[in-house]
């Protein structure tokens, strides 16, 4: 009896299994097609995650890059800052009105910052003089600058407007009269004024923050909308429907044959939505800021269906959204360590995944079956919000802030969630900010 060597053995088995095949069910291709479709959707979802994450990082990085690389003088119109920082002082009411006009002029001649700076030097004495002296000073200063070429006309225009506003101002003081007169006598020549203005501009730049970066957490408590969600009309895509289907599968055959006679107790809970985010602010003036960033929100809905036969099913839906908020903030009150501000704006959010897990139990509360369902969320969720917030400097560049307000989630054909049930909500946001530049 000869032993088979490995080569002979291989040939023997290879020949035997060369065309070996096993029959498959008729619907096997359909099952595979569905599995492949799910896999493709999951891949697309992950691509969405990456795209959304990359977009957020890109926006944040480009925003800060722009802010850091842009020369500070372009970021902060010096006059606007001066006026905004002093606007809460009653004595400077006229300064504010004059500056507003000046700012408009400054926009027209945006390329000529040096001349603009001279405006501030001149406006100051005008605001502290009485109306007649103001008119005189207007004439004086017009003469002083009569030899300034080209766009210097804006300065004289500004002075006229500033003076006009000052005429209506009741504030006047003899002390200021004398000081303003002295000031005019020593009014420097235009060239030295330009140099001086540059120095002052630098001083202002050093004192100003150039924006902040924050991490925050936000919650939203929806206002009742009067819709009773328990035992709501079941649409095929709803959690209720799938829970009911699951329970029906587990109840006894005799009972399932008369499903219509079985009553169900349906409980559904929408978890309080929490968002996490990173945001940054770009000041557009001393009073106004543009705030944007990125946020992640998870919306969780849980449901329970119980039949009269005591079999039950519980389900949990998790919806994950990534969004980009865009808000305009106005600083209402500002002190070195404390600020109060209002914001208004909106958020665009993209649902990146919806995961549903259903567990069914028999009458003895023993787990019978579980089902896992995952899909993508189409479309975008748009929302509008308005908030009021306070910021408190805790340590050096770090400050804590809290914002509260209202938000409206515009119906955007999104899957059922806390937001679709409570489109109006009161929001509260807390976070920590790191301010760039000096406060």
């Amino acid at each position: 009896m000869a032993n088979l060597n490995d080569k002979e053995l291989r040939n023997l088995f290879r020949q035997k299994f060369d065309d070996y095949n096993i029959a498959l069910p008729d619907d096997d291709w359909e099952v595979l097609k569905k599995k492949y479709g799910d896999t493709q959707r999951n891949r697309r979802r992950f691509i969405w995650y990456w795209v959304a994450a990359a977009s957020m990082i890109g926006i944040i990085m480009s925003g800060f890059s722009y802010w850091i690389l842009t020369p500070a003088k372009q970021q902060f119109p010096s006059i606007a800052q001066t006026t905004c920082s002093k606007r809460n002082s009653p004595k400077n009411t006229a300064v504010l009105s004059a500056s507003v006009v000046t700012l408009k002029k400054e926009t027209i001649f945006s390329g000529l910052k040096q001349e603009k700076q001279t405006q501030r030097n001149i406006i100051h004495p005008i605001t502290t003089a009485d109306s007649s002296l103001a008119l005189q000073s207007k004439i004086e200063s017009t003469r002083t600058f009569s030899n300034i070429p080209s766009t210097t006309q804006s300065v004289t225009d500004t002075l006229s407007l500033a003076s006009a506003s000052q005429v209506n101002s009741p504030s006047s003081d003899s002390t200021y009269k004398s000081s303003s007169t002295t000031h005019y006598e020593t009014l420097p020549q235009p060239t030295s004024l330009i140099d001086n203005s540059q120095d002052q501009s630098r001083k202002h730049t050093k004192k100003q923050p150039i924006g902040w970066l924050a991490i925050n957490m936000q919650g939203s408590n929806g206002l009742p909308n009067g819709i009773n969600n328990n035992n709501a009309l079941m649409e095929p895509s709803t959690l209720d429907n799938r829970l009911f289907t699951q329970v029906n599968q587990n109840i006894s055959p005799s009972a399932s044959s008369s499903t219509q006679l079985i009553t169900f107790i349906d409980k559904k809970t929408y978890a309080f939505p929490i968002s996490w985010g990173i945001s940054f602010s770009v000041p557009i003036s001393n009073c106004w800021e543009v705030q944007t960033g990125g946020m992640f929100t998870q919306l969780v809905t849980t449901g329970k269906v119980t039949s009269t036969t005591s079999s039950s099913a519980t389900g949990r839906i998790e919806q994950n959204y990534i969004g980009i908020p865009l808000n305009l903030a106005y600083i209402l009150f500002k002190e070195p360590t404390f600020a109060v501000y209002g914001t208004a704006g909106g958020t665009v959010e993209k649902g990146v995944s919806l995961v549903e897990k259903i567990y069914s139990y028999n009458a003895q509360n023993i787990a019978m079956n579980s089902d896992y369902y995952s899909t993508t969320i189409h479309g975008f969720q748009y929302s509008l919000d308005g908030n009021i917030g306070a910021n408190y400097k805790v340590y050096k560049s770090f400050s804590g802030y809290i914002e509260t307000g209202i938000a409206y989630f515009i119906p955007s054909n999104q899957p059922e969630s806390y937001r679709t049930v409570h489109p109006f909500g009161v929001t509260i946001k807390v976070g920590i900010r790191f301010t760039f530049g000096k406060n």
Partner: protein, 194 residues
């Protein structure tokens, strides 16, 4: 998009011939659904046979078959036309089966054999006589580790060195497992058909 739809329609009208394999592969690379279905129909039963040799459970093998085809559809672009397509396909399914076995830690199963046997010409006659299904059933009764090494070496044609790399075992372990699998198989064949 429209081009693919037209092509899909055409493929539903007429099946690929054996000489169209290159076209079939190209269309699968472009994710043409009809071509994917055609590929499935051409190879599914055969690949199911491959999967069954490794897991010996119909439903598990079917899951592996689906996983394997999903891999094929997703990564078919990595097939550069070198060697036979069926060989490439078979490697995908074998790898899928091995991943499953590793994941479920069934390769660690041990089986103690005290006596040693060699397959002899009598067994060869028996093997030639019995059907592939019966032979597969006997192989399926081997412990998973033995079965895997036996399939890889005797049927797929891998060397012990390659098997060692695939299963993260040493070459000598692979040889030893194969020898033991062969002996056990002889015992079973003789007991059933001898």
């Amino acid at each position: 998009m429209q081009r693919f739809e037209i092509r899909n329609h055409l493929y539903q009208q007429c099946m690929y011939s054996a000489s169209d394999e290159a076209q079939l592969i190209n269309d699968c690379k472009q994710q043409v659904a009809a071509a994917q279905q055609q590929l499935y129909e051409s190879y599914a039963r055969k690949m199911m046979g491959v999967c069954m040799r490794y897991v010996n459970d119909y439903e598990t093998a079917r899951d592996l078959l689906h996983d394997g085809f999903i891999k094929v559809f997703t990564h078919i672009s990595s097939f550069q036309g070198e060697g036979s397509f069926e060989g490439w396909l078979r490697r995908v399914f074998v790898t899928t089966a091995l991943e499953y076995l590793r994941k479920n830690d069934v390769l660690r199963e041990s089986y103690d054999i005290s006596t040693s046997y060699n397959l002899q010409t009598e067994e060869e006659t028996i093997i030639e006589r019995i059907s592939a299904d019966e032979l597969r059933a006997i192989i399926g009764t081997l412990p998973t580790g033995f079965r895997t090494v036996f399939n890889l070496y005797a049927v797929e044609g891998y060397s012990h060195k390659e098997i060692g790399k695939l299963l993260s075992i040493t070459e000598s372990t692979s040889r030893s497992q194969f020898a033991r699998a062969k002996n056990l198989l002889k015992q079973k064949i003789v007991a059933r058909y001898g």
